[in-house]
Symmetry: C2
Subunit: 339 residues, 2 copies
């Protein structure tokens, strides 16, 4: 039954294919009674319009794309739910593309999207993305483009972010208030704006509390869990090792806890830990983890809301603005101050 075509409908009803096509598009050229006959047969035979032909004509795929680094990360999986809540309400499909943190993948996906497959695009960039050249074609007004969380600052469009500087500042100040004299920051990028802002917040907190910054305490981790484990172990084995850690991404949590256990360091007595994380399990870790909890769902929802506003107004050039939704520090046992 799947392959019913306009031609088959035309033959069955003794009409031209043009007439069938117009009837299906509810054209004024076709009488109401003919439209009724066509629609009844189309329904009976389970006729499915070819989306490509329709798109050529209308340029309306009723589909948006979300381009993100990965889904094995609770921030992105929760943000996706926020995006989809809006898209479903608008009757749109959401296509999710994963870049796996590779710039080459991101470029290939953007090239693919440039050619009209979707009506709008929401992006969070890779760790490797340092320039926005590959976003220019879309951002020039062909298809509306919204960034969220990891944004490309040089591209002028709407960007949904959280207060990364304040979050980095609050996480670090909290460690110092709980007794840390030598807190370290685990970074994952030297280029990503959100990570740079968290680092700036860390630095400002040190300065405000009169702690001299030690460059060796700013540690660049990567994507490989085993390499991160080795790196964290090396840091925690130092003579003058850090007594606190701000981890800028949730994926470092397991390695921090496992290295601490291996080295006989007790959290929070010997090492206090705060992670940027939206994991559901943070409350049942050993010990429960103090987090910067990002408004992932709200950020996704806001990104989609702005995208659909542009689609509805047909003004595809979005205003260059930063919309900031604040994160919160949630204190748990991994940063308890000794009495």
């Amino acid at each position: 039954m799947g392959n019913i075509t306009i031609r088959m409908l035309a033959k069955e009803l003794n009409l031209s294919t043009a007439a069938i096509s117009k009837a299906l598009r509810d054209s004024h050229d076709i009488s109401a009674s003919t439209k009724e006959r066509v629609l009844a047969l189309a329904a009976k035979l389970n006729y499915v319009p070819n989306p490509y032909a329709g798109s050529l004509r209308r340029r309306k795929s009723k589909t948006i794309a979300v381009v993100i680094p990965e889904v094995a990360n609770s921030f992105f999986s929760i943000a996706l739910n926020g995006i989809e809540a809006v898209a479903i309400e608008k009757g749109y499909h959401t296509l999710i593309y994963l870049t796996h943190e590779k710039l080459a993948r991101e470029k290939a996906i953007l090239q693919d999207l440039q050619s009209g497959r979707v009506d709008g695009v929401i992006v969070s960039i890779t760790l490797e993305t340092t320039s926005g050249e590959h976003f220019r074609a879309l951002a020039s007004g062909q298809v509306p483009l919204v960034f969220f969380d990891r944004v490309c600052e040089e591209i002028e469009t709407a960007k949904i972010i959280t207060d990364d500087f304040t979050s980095g500042y609050n996480a670090t100040s909290h460690l110092i208030e709980c007794g840390c004299k030598n807190p370290a920051l685990l970074s994952v990028s030297n280029s990503l704006s959100i990570i740079s802002r968290r680092l700036e917040g860390y630095r400002q907190a040190l300065a405000d509390q009169g702690i001299k910054e030690n460059p060796a305490n700013i540690i660049l981790c990567g994507n490989d869990p085993n390499e991160n484990y080795a790196l964290i172990q090396q840091v925690l084995k130092r003579k003058k090792r850090p007594d606190g850690i701000v981890a800028t991404i949730e994926n470092l949590t397991t390695e921090i806890y496992q290295v601490s256990e291996k080295l006989g360091l007790s959290i929070p007595q010997d090492l206090k830990v705060v992670c940027f994380s939206n994991l559901a399990t943070v409350a049942i870790l050993n010990p429960s983890l103090t987090t910067i909890t990002q408004p992932a769902y709200e950020m996704g929802k806001t990104a989609a809301t702005i995208l659909f506003k542009a689609l509805e107004k047909k003004s595809f050039l979005l205003e260059n603005e930063n919309i900031v939704i604040p994160s919160s520090l949630v204190v748990r046992h991994s940063t308890v101050r000794e009495l």
Copy 2:
């Protein structure tokens, strides 16, 4: 620069649009020197072919779709990585569609896919899916279809599964060997084949160890964390409460741990717990969690490999077979036997 069309190339080179189109498709009708001129200009102007026009002609989108319930679940996010590893190697894009466990969404997505947007489809069905009618059009040979993990048994095609009966059996036997006399099973569906098999394994293990089955110990949880919390609390407050739990999905872990803490039940002394889970944090939970670890990456990779084999052979009707990749029981502290 984005909107370069065949018409513009034709005008610039003083050729017909048909000649440009043929040159771009490397047609024999066009001379080598003309082809060279066309390709050089297309490259210079960054011409992007319209994928819809191309698809109409070739019906080859170089894209596969993955239709899954959610990504806030480590099994699916890891399986996706396995699928994408294969797709990227083949030069394909992967579109991810989320059903959010809703049958209506799954049907709408399948309807959309039926019309030729992608070359192949990989599916894991929703908790609500009890019939496979909406898969028939695809499975009839239009587009190759592979199921993984949560399969639709009535549809004849390739299905990548794990050994759910054995896993349910092993999890339950392990609890009994560690001293449990009254183990419960937390289910999430009465219809999903994988959950039914895990339940059958649980029942067989009880029978083999001479424990009489108590219907009240088979508990149907849902999708809402708060409702699950309330339900688990009710079960663990019973006079003759379970002394062990097999949780058939990872999303119940946080609620089990939190209810236990609230009721003053110590894991593993008062309650032993084993969960089907692929979470990275299971080793650092309080206590670390004994799991049935599913071969998520391998299952995704195998599903994609079989799909691409069909695409390459152009035999879109896949053999009706179950490919079983075994899971493993990983023992940690949540099931330690008292001495």
